[in-house]
């Protein structure tokens, strides 16, 4: 059976061209970029070239890019780094209820260390009201962190609008961070247009390798080091560079820039075809997230009367890989905090399924899902005590 991968928001395959670019940096050009000899210098050149390519994708300067082990580290770095560099100025951090755990958990930790966390609500589409950010800022505010697009429901937040307001009100005192793990390479990004001081990214969401990411840090932003040691990454993130990973990330960014320039809406059309096909064939399905202000690749629905993990497993039997926001995927009894934050009742949150499309998704695959999914839903609904 040919398998169908529709979980591109979880991770993407490494593009063959990316893998090819990385290849020489394992055994042939294996030098430590900190070494002064030619082995070290060829590795150094590769890292700095990648830094330029990553910076170019988001309109940043190369020296504003700090390579990390991934998106989670970039988020932890941003929050802890800004919080502790500014703790004498204030202790208030503003974020939102729908952030990734890699934001919420560091915030919970900072709360135990005396920082005050304001977690802003979202509307039923998952949108943040920029006014609310504006009104939440106080004298004590040092950091605002709002994700660029939500990983579960795909809603794209008004970052530029929030950024402009934070700048106006914060007057240089407040740092503005965005977790752009889901949007880098998917949406055109210019850090100056967004008005952000810090931006988190991850390579494996844009056909790069796992275990590498970056934090953009605007020049002049006060930030404590994340790892102390041999002085790599301008003393902010010590540790010998993951050269093959960084090279792969750079190549992935070059290719993402080309895709963005081509203005191709193939994935969006496929996503819309999937949504239309599901809605036409299955009653009692609701769309989660914003109808328009959402990532092209993302489709998140709740199927009434059935539970998400049961849907996921049945799709997996058919070789179709998706994700769910049901409790059973999280190791707790609570469904996704994102789905609860947009006001979904528990039974609908438990019945959510996320399809995320990508580069290799085909119309045939989408049509196969449209054909298979109604049977799965029907089977589970016949088993459900909720379905009358």
């Amino acid at each position: 059976m040919k398998r169908i991968y529709l979980d591109y928001a979880a991770t993407t395959p490494v593009h063959p061209d990316v893998a090819a670019a990385m290849q020489p940096y394992f055994s042939e050009k294996f030098g430590n970029p900190s070494s002064l000899h030619s082995f070290g210098q060829e590795a150094r050149r590769a890292v700095e070239k990648a830094r330029e390519d990553v910076a170019a994708l988001i309109g940043a300067l190369p020296e504003e890019i700090i390579f990390t082990s991934g998106g989670t580290e970039a988020n932890n770095f941003a929050l802890n780094g800004v919080a502790y560099a500014n703790e004498k100025k204030g202790n208030k951090i503003i974020t939102t209820a729908i952030e990734h755990h890699a934001i919420l958990e560091p915030c919970h930790f900072l709360k135990t260390r005396g920082f005050e966390i304001t977690c802003l609500p979202v509307d039923k589409f998952g949108l943040i009201d920029p006014e609310l950010v504006w009104h939440s800022i106080t004298e004590k505010t040092i950091l605002v962190s709002v994700m660029h697009a939500n990983n579960e429901i795909g809603t794209v937040e008004p970052i530029a609008e929030i950024g402009a307001r934070v700048k106006r009100q914060g007057a240089g005192k407040i740092s503005f961070h965005t977790d752009a793990v889901q949007t880098v390479g998917m949406l055109p990004i210019d850090v100056n247009k967004l008005g952000v001081d810090l931006l988190s990214m991850s390579a494996h969401k844009l056909y790069g390798p796992k275990g590498v990411g970056a934090l953009y840090v605007r020049k002049g932003t006060r930030l404590n080091p994340f790892l102390r040691g041999g002085g790599q990454e301008r003393n902010r993130r010590a540790s010998t560079e993951n050269v093959p990973g960084i090279v792969g990330f750079g190549q992935a960014c070059v290719m993402a820039a080309q895709r963005l320039a081509s203005d191709d809406n193939r994935i969006k059309l496929l996503r819309d075809r999937l949504l239309a096909g599901i809605m036409k064939n299955i009653p009692d399905v609701v769309l989660n997230g914003h109808p328009n202000l959402r990532l092209d690749k993302n489709l998140n629905i709740s199927v009434k009367y059935v539970e998400g993990e049961a849907l996921l497993l049945n799709l997996d039997f058919e070789g179709i890989a998706v994700s769910t926001g049901s409790a059973c995927s999280s190791g707790t009894l609570d469904p996704s905090h994102v789905l609860l934050a947009i006001g979904l009742p528990h039974e609908l949150a438990h019945g959510s399924i996320r399809f995320t499309l990508g580069h290799w998704t085909t119309a045939e695959e989408i049509d196969r899902v449209i054909a298979v999914f109604p049977k799965i839903v029907e089977k589970l609904r016949q088993m459900s005590p909720l379905k009358k």
């Binding site: 059935v306 049961a310 190791g331 088993m383 005590p385 909720l386």
Partner: protein, 141 residues
């Protein structure tokens, strides 16, 4: 997730036994709630103190469906007394184990059976199951 489910869990999830309703059931029990994402409804038919037929309907994850299926299999044809001895551990063991986060599903399955028997006893003798209360409250939120 699926990776940590045993083959038996997957078998009972994929081909659940005893799914359905019994229109003239002698006892019906429903446990769980939408908040925690699992609801099990069990129907039993009892003749001469023996559970002659049993059906279930479950809203829930793979483990919830598999434990419902296994629990109903284990007590079909058993006496009420034997059925009451069914523990959640026995259901989990019969499925070659459950991931720790899914053990609550087996508790729910045991509860659903006891709830159906409680209903049967109330209807037939006027007195429900003694010394038993559903875990519903602690299972819920």
């Amino acid at each position: 997730m699926a990776g940590s489910y045993s083959d038996k869990v997957m078998d009972h999830f994929r081909n659940p036994r005893n799914v359905g309703e019994i229109p003239d059931a002698d006892g019906i029990g429903q446990v769980g709630n939408p908040v925690c994402g699992d609801i099990m409804k069990v129907y039993i038919k009892v003749k001469d103190n023996i559970i002659t037929d049993i059906k279930f309907k479950t809203f829930g994850c793979g483990a919830a469906i598999a434990t419902s299926s296994m629990a109903t299999e284990l007590i079909k044809g058993k006496t009420i007394e034997e059925a009451l001895k069914l523990t959640n551990r026995a259901v989990a063991d019969a499925l070659d184990g459950l991931p720790p986060v899914k053990m609550h599903c087996s508790v729910l399955a045991e509860d659903a059976i006891k709830s159906a028997i409680d209903d049967y006893l109330k209807k037939s003798t006027g007195v429900g199951l003694q010394g038993w209360t559903t875990h519903n409250e602690e299972h819920g939120h």
